[in-house]
Symmetry: C2
Subunit: 340 residues, 2 copies
């Protein structure tokens, strides 16, 4: 019989559709992307030599006069970088000026690499840049929330091949974020514990949904995963805001992010995916009931009318089976990072 599970963090119910469930192997891409990308593409604005094609750089991390990671304003920004933020309330029509920051983080000079294939040491650099920009943008008095995310592949919303992620600093706290903060606060009031710390503890004990663990991070398929192979990476260090990521945690986070994405890459034949860093707003970084984390969603199924009408998801993969599958995926020795 199918089971409807509640995600204790988001409070959302998910139908784990065991009757129409597929085996983990059924999610392996039938026609693997065989397109071999060049290391350099002269028509790509993110490739070295084409730096003039992007808006003026916000930040660059460099080594021996060549850049490793670049941050530039998004050319097609969703928000205006300049201008003051005004709220307007006109009856039931409420609006806020669309000001804020919208950056693109060009993750590497190499056109053809993805997180799964980048060296861990390089992913550390990307994470350092994430944290740096997260903190800088949070200082902007207009910005209430900073969202870091990555879209990879057409079905994940991008046609740009060059490895990149994005940062958006919005002049308001999104409803969903505020809602989850409230739910976490209520759980804290009811139990005296952080719902994320409790989840960490529970997943470590249950074992069945674990993907991997290291000193500072735990990766697992949530009990009520929204969609097949939906994965969470939780820091063990209880902090509400991503900006509190410590130097000593960065190598472990790089290892974990690479490990999960490499398992998806090799196990499911390079699926399109999104990830997002979910954090309390910087102004609420001191709250004791929240805990930042990373959510990774491979794009293997589509939300449709049922999700539109109910907000509920139907997941055709059993979280425990997906986790077992990912645990079993063997990575090529070169990419485990152990020999680098």
């Amino acid at each position: 019989m199918p089971e409807i599970r509640q995600n204790i963090v988001t409070r959302e119910w998910v139908i784990i559709a065991t009757e129409r469930a597929k085996r983990p192997e059924d999610f392996v891409k039938k026609e693997p992307t065989k397109k071999v990308l060049p290391k350099f593409s002269s028509s790509c604005s993110f490739c070295p030599g084409n730096e003039g094609q992007t808006p003026p750089e916000v930040f660059r991390l460099e080594e021996k006069a060549s850049w490793l990671v670049r941050v530039v304003p998004n050319k097609f920004a969703a928000l205006f970088r300049e201008g003051i933020c005004e709220r307007k309330v006109n009856g039931i029509k409420r609006s806020v000026s669309g000001v804020g920051i919208h950056d693109v983080i060009i993750e590497t000079p190499a056109h053809n690499l993805t997180t799964a294939l980048l060296p861990e040491a390089h992913i550390e650099k990307i994470l350092q840049v994430y944290r740096r920009r997260y903190l800088e943008v949070s200082e902007d008095p207009r910005v209430e929330q900073v969202i870091l995310f990555k879209n990879q592949g057409e079905s994940a919303g991008t046609s740009l091949e060059h490895p990149h992620s994005q940062l958006v600093g919005t002049p308001l706290t999104p409803y969903q974020v505020r809602n989850r903060l409230e739910e976490a606060a209520r759980y804290f009031d009811d139990t005296g514990e952080c719902v994320f710390c409790r989840t960490l503890q529970d997943e470590r004990q249950d074992q069945v949904r674990l993907i991997a663990e290291n000193l500072h991070f735990l990766a697992f398929i949530p009990y009520a995963a929204l969609s097949p192979f939906h994965t969470w990476i939780f820091p063990k260090n209880h902090k509400a805001s991503f900006g509190e990521l410590q130097d000593e945690e960065i190598p472990d986070l790089a290892k974990m992010l690479k490990l999960v994405l490499a398992k998806l890459y090799h196990g499911l034949e390079n699926p399109d995916f999104n990830y997002a860093i979910c954090s309390a707003p910087d102004k609420e970084k001191a709250v004791e009931y929240y805990h930042w984390y990373i959510s990774i969603v491979p794009r293997l199924t589509k939300a449709a009318g049922f999700e539109l009408g109910s907000g509920m998801f139907i997941n055709t993969a059993l979280p425990e089976e997906s986790a077992a599958f990912l645990r079993s995926v063997q990575l090529p020795r070169l990419e485990t990072g152990f020999n680098t």
Copy 2:
């Protein structure tokens, strides 16, 4: 400058990305679906003659010994039709048995028609079947919420060509539904009015986001539409539950649904779309602060990492421009229904 608008009903903020906005014409499908479907397909389980290929029929509407609309259990049901509903609470792991109803409504014997092309009189029949099954399934003591929806086209989550919609009766109230009921109740407490009735009144006055109006229904692009051409159809009759749809409203709803879908079909070259009927749970049908409606989402853009991390949407179409475009779409005379 872009504008961030709040949807007063869902409380969600949407970035109306005017700077990267497209003209309504830019959403017209570049390669219109030229595949001409046959009126009958021998390999389609929903076509006449193949009735034995579906699970045993739940209901049929017929005329002169041939069926017009059939309702059958979904062969790949997300929920078990039989069995009792149990709630389990095991620490933070909460689950409900996956029992409930999952029907498919085969909208017409014709393989090649879509709502935009069906006669209004036939859409009335479909709506009668919707209401009938909505009420019947609501009687099931295990069912808390009934969701009626339609997926059309690959990017809307279905590869089945034959016109069909679905009904799911869940043994719990989805979090999103409960959340919206709470927000509507709060609005009612604060103002003494129904937020939906107020929106109706506001949209009629503003005019700029209207698509069409008849005696019983209003179709418009919401002020904070989630995505390009996202459309709402509101009944003027203030009722919380779709089950309260009156006989005299059905012809007007059929007209309105056909009109909106025909304008999308002809104006945007047959885009894939979802629609869902959003309703209070039947048990709460008497609440004075809620109001059922239909939400239509053409699949023209993709949600990605930003939406995952924030719950906010970026809409690259200005609602007022989309509405003006749809108002201007001329329908072929045959399909307006005026001459049938």
